[in-house]
């Protein structure tokens, strides 16, 4: 069976319980979700609702306490090669140049990189608008540029699935919107399955094909909203009447839960 025939990510009745020093903590309960190949899905929810747990389960960094997590039809038993992760903070290697940071996954996994790999890294950096900054250290780059390098690092191994854990939340509002559109641009040119964790309602609606809303702990999926906005999306999308309807619907949903 080819990849195209299967859902990229599927959670079936997934529960996750963490054992901590002060007892047990139930992060997820009965989570069912499906993300199709090349779909851009945003996961929205209050802080501490287990959004990041969802991501770590998909990445194979955690094994579920109950239920099943599948990626391309295979149960996730260990981390896979076809998944790239972008973290909330850029978490680059402070001693390595932008280019060295991008090739790092390969150097770390295989032990060495060749000139072709470096050329590929430079191409990705150029696509991220960082041409000319290849030799800069992270400390010489702005926060937005550092996160671009973080994204370039995740794209370097050319993963089918891109997991993003609130990647733009540390950036200022303007850079944040700009980065969102750049991400869409890259995603439209080279489609990937994206699981985008965020706590920003407008960011979720603006970027995603579908928004999954999670409840507070223990996290469950309480809404599955398809965003029917035309693509390509850009700054003009933010003025779209339909977008505001989606945003206010999600906001009232989250406020109702919080009240």
């Amino acid at each position: 069976m080819g990849k195209a025939a299967q859902s990229a990510i599927r959670f079936s009745n997934v529960g996750q319980v963490f054992r901590t020093q002060s007892g047990t903590l139930e992060a997820l309960r009965g989570v069912d979700l499906t993300i199709e190949r090349h779909e851009f899905v945003a996961v929205l929810g209050p802080s501490g609702c287990g959004k990041s747990t969802l991501l770590r389960l998909t990445a194979g960094l955690l094994t579920p306490t109950s239920g099943k997590v599948e990626v391309f039809g295979l149960s996730v038993a260990e981390p896979r090669d076809d998944i790239g992760i972008v973290f909330q903070k850029p978490t680059l290697l402070p001693w390595a140049s932008a280019e060295d940071n991008v090739v790092f996954p390969l150097r770390h996994k295989a032990g060495r990189v060749n000139a072709g790999d470096r050329e590929k890294a430079r191409q990705i950096l150029a696509r991220m608008g960082l041409a000319g900054f290849e030799k800069r250290l992270p400390s010489e780059l702005s926060g937005g540029m550092q996160q671009r390098v973080g994204i370039a690092r995740a794209l370097f191994m050319d993963p089918d699935i891109l997991l993003m854990d609130e990647p733009f939340s540390a950036l200022d509002a303007l850079t944040r919107d700009e980065m969102g559109f750049e991400l869409l641009h890259i995603w439209e040119a080279r489609p990937k399955t994206v699981m985008f964790i965020t706590h920003s309602i407008s960011e979720a609606v603006l970027l995603a094909d579908r928004v999954l809303v999670m409840s507070e702990r223990p996290g469950r999926i309480i809404e599955n909203l398809t965003i029917d906005l035309p693509r390509p999306r850009g700054f003009e999308t933010t003025n779209n009447k339909v977008m505001h309807d989606y945003v206010s619907h999600l906001r009232s949903l989250l406020l109702k839960r919080a009240a």
């Binding site: 990445a59 978490t91 290697l93 402070p94 770390h108 032990g111």
Partner: protein
């Protein structure tokens, strides 16, 4: 950014002559090494004048000029002999300490069992005053460099292990997850992520330990030696040649400072990224 704007605005509103004076002060404060030099020279002058005016006996406090004279008590090659003796012990002890401390720190972070088993022993070693154990070690290991190197090792080891361990554990958890998600070999997680991330911590400890190493070497010489700056200081005081002891002290301080600066320079040259920038 905002702060400098505010202070810039307030200084331009001050009267011009006051502003000029302030600018001179700012320039003086910024000249590297100028202010400390002024302080040092002032202290020396006050010291010298006090010794003369109050006629302080030189065995209580010799004046700077008398200390300078103390340098001439033995010929220059003898000085080099003493310096080399102390320096050799300090450096060998320091290097042995590094070579053992860093792998120990790696092992402590790799295995929780080992950490629980070894850590209390490390604390006991650190809690034992090295000065008190020194005579025992000298008796046990005899004369020669070995007991002195062991004493230097004991005094420098603990800060290195603790700081390196802290550094190895301070790696951003995301990078460890990245490493795990790549299913990279554990050795590379150590060499490519954890160890480099520990570099700033290691250098903090290296800077502390290099000055401790000199102390260790001197303590060992106090107990039993026939050479070395520590030996020379003790010998001079027992002969009431206090200005010579002070001269030895000055040499020790110079050695310590020079070694400290060497370590700091090594960090600047090979690991410039590990020095925290002044930008917050």
């Amino acid at each position: 950014m905002t702060m400098s704007h505010i202070s810039g605005a307030s200084s331009s509103s001050a009267p011009p002559e006051q502003r000029d004076r302030r600018q001179v002060m700012v320039r003086l404060a910024r000249a590297p090494g100028l202010l400390p030099l002024v302080t040092l020279v002032s202290i020396l002058i006050v010291w010298e004048v006090s010794c003369q005016v109050f006629a302080i006996p030189s065995f209580v406090l010799p004046s700077p000029t008398r200390i300078l004279g103390g340098f001439g008590a033995i010929p220059f090659p003898r000085w080099l002999d003493h310096i080399w003796s102390t320096l050799r012990v300090a450096l060998i002890g320091y290097v042995v300490s590094i070579v053992i401390a860093i792998p120990t720190a790696v092992m402590l972070t790799r295995s929780e069992m080992l950490s629980r088993a070894l850590y209390p022993i490390l604390v006991v070693i650190q809690a034992t005053p090295v000065v008190a154990v020194a005579p025992v070690i000298i008796v046990a290991l005899g004369s020669g460099d070995l007991p002195r190197v062991v004493i230097t090792f004991l005094i420098t080891f603990f800060p290195l292990v603790v700081s390196t361990t802290t550094g190895l554990l301070a790696t951003p958890p995301e990078l460890i997850e990245l490493s795990r998600s790549l299913r990279a070999p554990a050795i590379r997680e150590m060499t490519q992520i954890r160890l480099p991330f520990a570099i700033p911590y290691v250098f903090s400890a290296l800077k502390i330990s290099i000055t401790l190493a000199v102390i260790g070497a001197v303590v060992a010489e106090f107990v039993a030696a026939d050479k070395g700056i520590g030996y020379y200081i003790q010998f001079s005081t027992s002969m009431f040649q206090v200005q010579q002891a002070w001269a030895g002290l000055v040499v020790l301080v110079a050695i310590s400072l020079a070694l400290f600066q060497l370590v700091a320079a090594a960090q600047r040259i090979w690991f410039p990224w590990s020095i925290p920038s002044e930008r917050s």
